[in-house]
């Protein structure tokens, strides 16, 4: 699975606004290799091989807003217990564009409009090249190169994965709290309403 750029909004779901939570820059252009640090070693994804900032992109039938950079150039968030609001409504899934520094998992907390709270598992696969997914995710974007602060490394193919989290209750969702696990990075989230889920 590879993301498809869309001139108009296709795909299902309601992309969530995350810019206010972005705190990490994981994507850089070749003229600014040292401008980000997705991981501990300051590697980044190559911007030229990914959708433009703020563009709409369809990944396996789900509509995502590819991150529009926030202040300081941040384009993703490290999970750190952020509380993310969702336009209240019925959803069956939260779809994510995400990648981790070594695969990891933690519980997030779904907050429903009626005050109920349930834990669900957030699992994020490793962005590192030549490392298969172990969680049943699908690759959304596999790049042909990886950026190092001083060079572009060919033959190394980092991945942004599409994951999903179930929203089981037959109730309106109001938001969710992410776990405190900075190994997990999230670039985009789309809430998919009942009946719109993709294969």
């Amino acid at each position: 699975m590879t993301g498809q750029l869309t001139g108009h909004r296709t795909g299902t779901g309601r992309p969530l606004e995350l810019r206010g939570h972005f705190d990490n820059r994981g994507i850089t252009p070749t003229h600014d290799l040292g401008g980000g640090a997705f991981n501990v070693w300051s590697n980044t994804f190559p911007a030229e091989q990914l959708p433009p900032d703020g563009s709409s992109v369809e990944v396996g039938g789900v509509l995502f807003e590819f991150p529009a950079r926030a202040a300081g150039g941040a384009d993703n968030l490290r999970c750190a217990g952020q509380l993310i609001e969702v336009p209240p409504g019925r959803y069956d899934w939260l779809y994510l564009l995400a990648a981790a520094e070594r695969r990891t998992e933690d519980q997030l907390y779904l907050h429903y409009a009626d005050g109920a709270v349930d834990p669900e598992w957030l699992r994020v696969s490793d962005f590192w090249p030549q490392t298969p997914d172990r969680f049943g995710a699908v690759p959304a974007f596999r790049c042909a190169t990886m950026h190092y602060p001083r060079h572009v490394q060919r033959g190394v193919d980092p991945v942004i994965w599409r994951h999903r989290v179930p929203v089981p209750r037959h109730a309106d969702l109001a938001g969710f709290r992410l776990p405190d696990n900075p190994a997990a990075h999230i670039f985009a989230i789309t809430a998919v309403a009942a009946g719109q889920e993709q294969p």
Binding site: V40, R102, R103, D106, Q130, R134, Y148, Q153, N181
Partner: protein, 369 residues
């Protein structure tokens, strides 16, 4: 003369590093099943201050070699060699290969063209050497850590990587720099003479449970002698795979309680203004690898034996490994002040709760069996 050994195959686990990768290849070549040898044991051990700047760092309890520490109870050990210089270093490795034995050699990634860190980052890494061509002046090298490499290098290039001083020069030379490579190489001693009765799969689980529960207060197997040092700066001790006597080792952390004390001490030291990034990053990486490889062994063994409870236990173990993924990055981010003692303690609470649950389930499973 030209020789390339047959039967040298790559092995890698996604949550382990070059140590497990190299050992997997060497074990496979020696006729052992890598996952069985590397994954049956599951321990936690660390002695405060023991840390060395090596991607292949693994704490070695008293009297144990590196491999006996990674794979307790397998009757397999290892011997580090520290040649006097690069020439002796190559001749020793060449003799091993000539005798049909692949070996693991330490290298500085900074000197290796196939590593992304080439001419950029110094890092103390481990690769397998299993061939050479005297006429062409090349060496056959296998590195299963991405980007995968299996090919020939000029002997001079490998020699430079093995003889490197590994000196840091910028801020990204972290964790695994400033430890001279010293041409060291690792010999696997797979003598096929286990020190104890071969254990059944359930026997390994029982030994793991006992070791983790014994922690700092006891010794489930037997004690070993005083520490002769098992790092690459020491000579050889390819002997015991017995459990250490924790009481004889001040400042050591072992078992479940050792994990709790280690994480508490790390948080406390961070709160006191000390730098903990290197120690916590590297030690959590060891715990991550050991737990994850064990998880795969438990799952694989359960499926092979038709025991559905085992893959379920394996999934719990994987969950523990994923905690260590988080700890590792939390550790690194203490450098910038992004991670506070409070955040570390939060992870500790969650990790220990899951660890206790897993050990409890393991206990029940073994009792039922």
């Amino acid at each position: 003369m030209r020789i390339v050994l047959d039967g040298v195959r790559p092995w890698r686990h996604d949550l382990a590093g070059c140590l497990h990768a190299c050992l997997g290849t060497l074990l496979d070549h020696a006729g052992r099943r890598p996952l069985e040898v590397l994954g049956a044991g599951w321990r936690f051990y660390y002695r405060l201050g023991d840390l060395r700047a090596e991607e292949y760092y693994h704490p070695c309890p008293d009297g144990r070699s590196l491999v006996a520490s990674v794979a307790p109870g397998q009757g397999i050990s290892s011997r580090w060699h520290r040649p006097a210089d690069a020439e002796q270093g190559w001749q020793q490795v060449r003799e091993q290969v000539l005798a049909g034995v692949p070996v693991a050699v330490a290298v500085d990634n900074f000197e290796l063209p196939f590593r992304p860190a080439y001419r950029d980052v110094h890092s103390n890494h481990l690769v397998v050497v299993y061939g050479f061509d005297d006429e062409r002046g090349t060496v056959r090298v296998l590195d299963a850590i991405p980007p995968f490499f299996d090919g020939d290098l000029p002997l001079g290039v490998l020699a430079a990587a093995r003889d490197s001083g590994n000196r840091s020069s910028h801020e990204r030379d972290m964790f695994f720099a400033d430890n001279p490579i010293g041409n060291r190489w690792l010999e696997l001693v797979a003598d096929g003479a286990p020190s104890a009765e071969p254990r059944s799969p359930a026997g390994y689980l029982a030994a793991n449970l006992a070791a983790l529960r014994a922690g700092a207060s006891g010794n489930p197997d037997s004690s070993a002698g005083p520490n002769s040092g098992a790092g690459p700066n020491s000579s050889a001790q390819p002997n015991s795979d017995a459990e250490p006597d924790r009481g004889a080792e001040p400042n050591s952390y072992a078992g479940r309680d050792g994990i709790a004390r280690f994480l508490t001490d790390m948080s406390d030291r961070l709160a006191d203004g000390h730098s903990i990034a290197d120690e916590l990053f590297v030690v959590s990486g060891v715990a991550l690898a050991g737990t994850a490889v064990h998880a795969d062994w438990v799952g694989d063994t359960g499926r092979r034996l038709g025991l559905p409870g085992w893959p379920e236990l394996a999934r719990r173990l994987d969950r523990l490994a994923h905690h260590w993924s988080a700890v590792r990055i939390l550790a690194a981010l203490t450098r910038t002040g992004e991670v506070t003692p409070r955040r570390l303690r939060g992870r500790q609470v969650a990790l220990l709760a899951d660890l206790d649950h897993t050990l409890g389930e393991l206990d029940l499973m073994l009792a039922a069996a």
